[in-house]
């Protein structure tokens, strides 16, 4: 991991902006242009967000709203933090308040608002129409504090680099009082409308967002692109969460609305973005009946009465060739997870909801052995709904010796920061394996306890097997064990209060935190740069009795996924009791070694006195 820059001027500008066009090799850190793959600065290259080209125009934030770790939040400004505009998936997190119920703890829905593996939510995107040659860049960011405003920028048919005079934005708009945050999920290639999923917000507490809107940015291949009103589900804004399922064969987008107040009330509809109308495809508000391990019924408020529930990505239905399916969280009357397996007939857009009938655990264990509900979900309305806490299940596969297994992981998230710190079961992610060919039968596979309250996640690869977890004081990276045994394994701990993490087109991972100047700091967590360097001596302590003790230490460098890296590591001894021994058997206090991609690198050391010594590492990149 490397710190790329520490911001100094207090300019309201994005932390990083990647030109999303394949034809461009530029990336902008704050406003300065760099060559994307080498990060070499480009002379006379500054991005402008001014439509007129005459002024420095705010667009995004370098980093504000952060709270000092352990401190008290005082910054009440109304914005996101450390905005990243990259072409991959990005999650933003708010940090200025911790441990309270407040809309400033609301969760960015980016990691789960789209269920389509091929159409993830991306608010910074380049769209291209091959039939006309038209192209456009549409960029926006949400402000979660107020939920009243967002900014969006549109650059239509630009030809040169973005930093040239002829490539100014067509429009830069702050749209007020929409009471929604929005995520772009899909461009309809027939209408050329860009489809969004939007979160409605109550104007009072603003911590009761359902997300009932589907709506569109119309005519994106024109200079006058504009948002339509969206379908009018206002009355359900406080009771439903919405996700984008995918695209019908008629090119229309399909959405699911899931009721917060029960687990068994789902509505699926198709959005006609040309007419701004919808057609209901599916409703099911039937209470499941008890079958097998599934107790059925209504868990009511006892096990988290009010929770936003987010379904998994879609995947090939193993029981119906050519069709799709997904998992939707459902907790039975005993508070035990028995997700619905919902089938999607892609030819007819008919949906069928199936009850999971068998979810089993080792021995006499039950779900409560590993997991417990966020009790805050059971309290009053003003804190019960909302995007501050939610349940999400996601599915992915892992192949071992030609055998592919499908897994489902259940996440419980709370944007408040430390709400689950005292109870490990509230911050446990449980993973189940799907019985091959039988999606309604799940078997407990593994569970992982996040060290601190998980505020949100970011997917760090497209296959959903590397996951970053935001907490208030650290960022954790987990990789699903490729051998299929251990489940999610912690591979890296980055001790920063990140407020955004995302990937660029080169699959590099970028992050922002507030930095020492409170103006933002940009990190690059690229796979070729070690996230962790370990030095482990052969013994944890030595009993020095006046004679030199010869021993060894192993040195390893790992990337963010826990994979060994071959890098040059300089070891420096601090203290007088220990020395390093080089290849000429000379005792030295500084030694440079190269780590291996396959094995431990061994360094000879010698204990030459009493007392404590440290070995300090630095990496040459």
């Amino acid at each position: 991991m490397a710190i790329i820059t520490t911001n100094r001027p207090n300019r309201y500008i994005h932390a990083v902006y990647e030109d999303p066009r394949p034809s461009s090799a530029r990336i902008y850190i704050n406003e300065q242009g760099f060559v994307k793959n080498t990060l070499a600065a480009v002379v006379d290259s500054k991005i402008s967000h001014s439509v007129s080209g005459q002024s420095l125009t705010d667009f995004g934030y370098p980093s504000v709203n952060a709270q000092a770790i352990g401190g008290t939040g005082t910054d009440t400004t109304t914005n996101w933090t450390g905005v990243l505009f990259l072409t991959g998936e990005i999650t933003h997190v708010q940090n200025q308040f911790v441990g309270i119920t407040d809309q400033r703890c609301n969760i960015d829905l980016t990691p789960f608002v789209s269920m389509d593996p091929n159409r993830r939510a991306k608010n910074h995107r380049w769209e291209y129409d091959a039939s006309t040659g038209n192209n456009t860049i549409v960029t926006l960011y949400n402000e979660f504090y107020s939920h009243q405003t967002y900014y969006w920028e549109h650059r239509y048919n630009i030809t040169g680099e973005i930093d040239t005079v002829g490539s100014r934005p067509t429009s830069l708009t702050q749209t007020a009082n929409l009471y929604r945050n929005i995520w772009a999920v899909y461009r309809n290639p027939v209408s050329n409308n860009l489809i969004y999923c939007g979160a409605y917000l109550n104007s009072g507490t603003r911590n009761v967002p359902g997300s009932p809107y589907a709506f569109a940015l119309n005519n994106i291949f024109s200079a006058s692109a504009s948002f339509n009103a969206g379908v009018d589900f206002t009355s359900q804004g406080m009771t439903h969460a919405t996700q984008f399922i995918g695209v019908s064969i008629d090119t229309r987008a399909i959405f699911i609305r899931n009721n917060f107040t029960t687990d068994y009330d789902q509505i699926i509809y198709k959005y006609n973005d040309s007419l701004n109308t919808f057609t209901t495809l599916f409703t099911n508000s039937t209470t499941p009946t008890a079958t097998g391990t599934n107790g059925g019924g209504n868990r009511a408020a006892l096990f988290g009465g009010y929770a936003g529930k987010y379904s998994s990505s879609t995947f090939s239905d193993p029981t119906s060739a050519g069709n799709q399916g997904f998992y939707t969280p459902y907790f039975d009357v005993n508070g035990r997870y028995h997700p619905f397996f919902v089938q999607w007939n892609v030819s007819t857009d008919a949906f069928t909801r199936n009850n999971t009938t068998s979810v089993t655990y080792p021995g006499s264990n039950t779900m409560s052995t590993y997991w417990t509900v966020d009790q805050n979900m059971t309290t009053g309305v003003s804190v019960s709904y909302g995007a501050q806490r939610l349940w999400y299940n996601e599915t992915f596969t892992n192949t071992v010796s030609s055998t592919t297994t499908r897994y489902i992981t259940l996440f419980q998230l709370h944007g408040g920061g430390n709400s689950y710190d005292s109870d490990p079961k509230q911050r446990t992610f449980i993973t189940y394996s799907m019985t091959t060919g039988t999606p309604t039968t799940l078997v407990y596979h593994s569970s992982v306890i996040i060290p601190l309250t998980p505020k949100n996640i970011v997917w760090l690869n497209d296959t959903r097997t590397t996951c970053g977890v935001f907490t208030h004081t650290a960022f954790y990276v987990y990789t699903f064990d490729a051998t299929g045994v251990a489940g999610w394994v912690l591979t890296s701990t980055l001790p920063y209060q990140f407020n955004a993490v995302g990937r660029d087109s080169l699959n590099r991972i970028w992050a922002t935190d507030v930095g020492p100047n409170q103006m933002g700091r940009v990190h690059l967590i690229t796979p070729s740069v070690p996230a962790t360097v370990s030095v482990v001596t052969a013994a944890s302590s030595y009993n020095y009795a006046g004679s030199t003790i010869n021993s060894t230490a192993t040195v390893n460098a790992y990337d963010v996924n826990g994979v060994r890296l071959a890098v040059s590591v300089t070891l420096t001894v601090s203290g007088t009791s220990l020395v390093l021994v080089n290849s000429s058997s000379v005792q030295v206090t500084t030694l440079t070694v190269t780590t291996s991609t396959s094995a431990d690198t061994t360094v000879n050391i010698a204990i030459i006195g009493a007392g404590n010594s440290n070995i300090i590492t630095s990496v040459n990149v």
Binding site: S235, T277, T280, L281, R353
Partner: protein, 85 residues
């Protein structure tokens, strides 16, 4: 074409409860729900803004069926209007 007018209590962007009127019409097997706008068209009539176009009824268990007639369509809509709009 058969049609009915219904009244719905909604919540506006400021969190206030407001009443909206909808025209629910049925023709050739399809139910169309339109919001009755206060804006007038060239004939001085309130503009209709289509909201839902429904060629079938969705049943409580998730299955679908065709509308038998306009009354069947209106009955379905009245039963499920709180869920779908």
């Amino acid at each position: 074409m058969d049609s009915i007018i219904i009244e719905r209590l909604k919540t506006d962007a400021d969190g206030n409860e407001i009443t909206k009127n909808y025209n629910v019409s049925y023709e050739l097997g399809t139910l169309v729900v339109s919001e009755i706008s206060e804006e007038k068209d060239s004939n001085g009539e309130n503009k209709l803004i289509p909201v839902m176009i429904q060629p079938w009824k969705c049943l409580p268990d998730g299955s679908r069926d065709n509308f038998a007639d306009s009354q069947d369509a209106f009955d379905w809509f009245n039963e499920f209007k709180d869920q779908v709009i």
